[in-house]
Structure formats: C-alpha cells, structure tokens
C-alpha cells in the first residue's frame, strides 16, 4: 500500500484539486452510470458485463467527487476522498465501496455486480440530490 494515503497527502499531491466547474458534471456522470448499467447485461461475456458494471460504479463515484467540487486523477485518491467525506459521516456504506473495489478486481458474478452498481447508483442519486 502506498505511503500515507490520507487526505492531507492527496491535498499536497498533483492528484486532487478543487474546481467549482465540475459541479455541473455530476448529473452527466449519473446519466453515464445509468446508461452503462443498462448496457451491462447485454455485453458478450461475464467479464465484459462485470467490467461494464464497474464502469457504471466508477461514474457514480465520480458523481460523488464532482458533487464535492473536487477533481482527482488517482484511483486511491478517489477512495480516500469517499472514505473521508461520505463513509466516515455515514452518508455512504462501506459495503458499497468494497463492492466497487471487488468489481475492479473483476470478482463475483455479473448479477452481484449489477445489483451493487444499481444500489450504488440509487444511493449516489439520493446523496447528490441533497
């Protein structure tokens, strides 16, 4: 695991920056996530299906990032920001983040991943709407 992957570390790194303009990207991210989720079951094999579900989850996570007006260019930074801003405050369940990481490693069945992507999308919609 990487050296001190906390928010302070990322704030000093070139991977996390504040940009008010990204706020308008959040609804687009959600649209993209929904579209990918719909496409996922139609993909040719299980691996493609899981990967598309992962992409949908990634877009949902990006919507959360953008709703905070933050932009990031590092995968661990996304995870750290989500943990600090959402999971620690009880806005998002740890299980959703775990499902995202499992999906990235292409684990589980396609159905499990579709369910995880769908529930994450619904949770994120609720958070972004607030």
């Amino acid at each position: 695991m990487m050296r001190s992957p906390d928010l302070a570390y990322w704030a000093e790194s070139p991977h996390l920056f504040f940009d008010p303009d990204v706020l308008k990207l959040a609804p687009k991210d959600l649209e993209k996530a929904e579209k990918l989720l719909k496409e996922a079951p139609g993909k040719k094999d299980a691996l493609e299906q899981i990967n598309t579900a992962y992409m949908s989850m990634y877009c949902s996570m990006q919507a959360l990032m953008h709703s905070l007006q933050y932009k990031t260019t590092h995968m661990r930074c996304i995870v750290t920001v989500l943990e600090d801003f959402f999971i620690k405050h009880g806005k998002l369940e740890q299980a959703r983040l775990d499902a995202f990481l499992r999906s990235q490693r292409i684990e589980g069945t396609p159905e499990e991943n579709f369910q995880a992507a769908e529930s994450l999308l619904n949770a994120v919609k609720g958070i972004v709407a607030k």
Binding site: M1, M2, R3, S13, P14, H74, R105
Partner: protein, 169 residues
C-alpha cells in the same frame, strides 16, 4: 520516475490487458500480474491484480517502452520515503492507477500524439462506415431499380378472352 497504470478518465476502464510483457521485460522482475479469468476458467484480457515492488524497481522505463497498449507509463513523482519499507512499497492496482488526464499533464507531447492517432483512427472508422452506408444505399437503389425495371419488362398478361374449350380426350 516510478511506473503508473493508466485508466480512462471517462469510464474508469484500466488499459492493462495483463499481457505480461512488462513483467517479462522488467530487468529486476518487480512486476507481478494476476490475469482475470472468466467464469469458465478461460483467461481474459484484464488484470485482476497488479503489483509493483517500488523498492526493487530500478526506474528503467522498459515496462512503459514495451507496453503495446500504452497502459503503463513513467510518472514524475519519485518520493518514497517512509518509516516502513516492506509492505508499503509494494504498490497494488489502487496505488498505481492514474487517469488519462494526469497522463496528459505529465506527458503532453506523447498525449497529443496519442490523441492525434485516435482522431485519425476515428476519422478512418467514420469514413469506412460512411462508405459502407453509401454502398448499402447504392445497392438498395439498384435493387429497387431492378425491381421496377423487372416489373416493367415482365411478360404481358395474356388478354382475357373467352375460355378455350378443351377437347375431350
């Protein structure tokens, strides 16, 4: 200069196909990849896990030179100092993945080149699609013409006259 893995900014898709070329060419053998497998056990072009031991890496850049998918690149960050030098210097996929946007910032010329190639490929693809569509349209038009001409040249319908009386055999 440490290696990083690239993911697409728009959808988070990792470019690595776990072909293993980087691991093979790595002189100090510090790259470890686990290839994804389908439910039937067949290997698939995705990485389940990807590890680089940064203490062993000698920053030669061979991995990024040889990667046929532009999935592994050399970063500009090299700070590794830490109180713990065993587990924390074995970077996993989460630690290695950076977006295409970051790659564009750190390697502007290579990124511009890549974008140009992509644009050209898209143009070619569009031209090919347009050509295919035009060919299909032409074919359809020709078929319609042939059908119309066929309708015009069909054998004239015999004038309806009084029914001929059949001779009894």
């Amino acid at each position: 200069m440490l290696p990083v893995l690239i993911y697409e900014e728009e959808n988070g898709d990792c470019r690595c196909t776990s072909c293993g070329i980087c691991a093979k060419v790595c002189p100090p053998q510090c790259i470890w990849i686990v290839q994804a497998k389908a439910l039937d056990g067949k290997p698939k072009p995705k990485a389940n896990e990807f590890y680089i031991d940064m203490d062993v890496c000698m920053n030669c850049g061979f991995c990024s030179e040889f990667c046929p998918f532009d999935a592994i690149k050399m970063d500009h960050i090299y700070e590794l100092s830490n109180y713990e030098r065993h587990k924390s210097h074995v970077y996993n996929m989460q630690d290695l993945l950076v977006s295409t946007e970051y790659y564009g910032q750190t390697h502007p010329r290579a990124w511009a080149k890549e974008l140009a190639v992509k644009e050209e490929e898209e143009k070619k693809k569009k031209a090919k699609e347009a050509a295919a569509a035009a060919a299909a349209k032409k074919k359809a038009e020709e078929a319609a013409k042939a059908a119309a001409a066929g309708a015009g040249t069909t054998a004239p319908v015999a004038p309806v006259g009084p029914p001929k009386e059949e001779k009894p055999q």
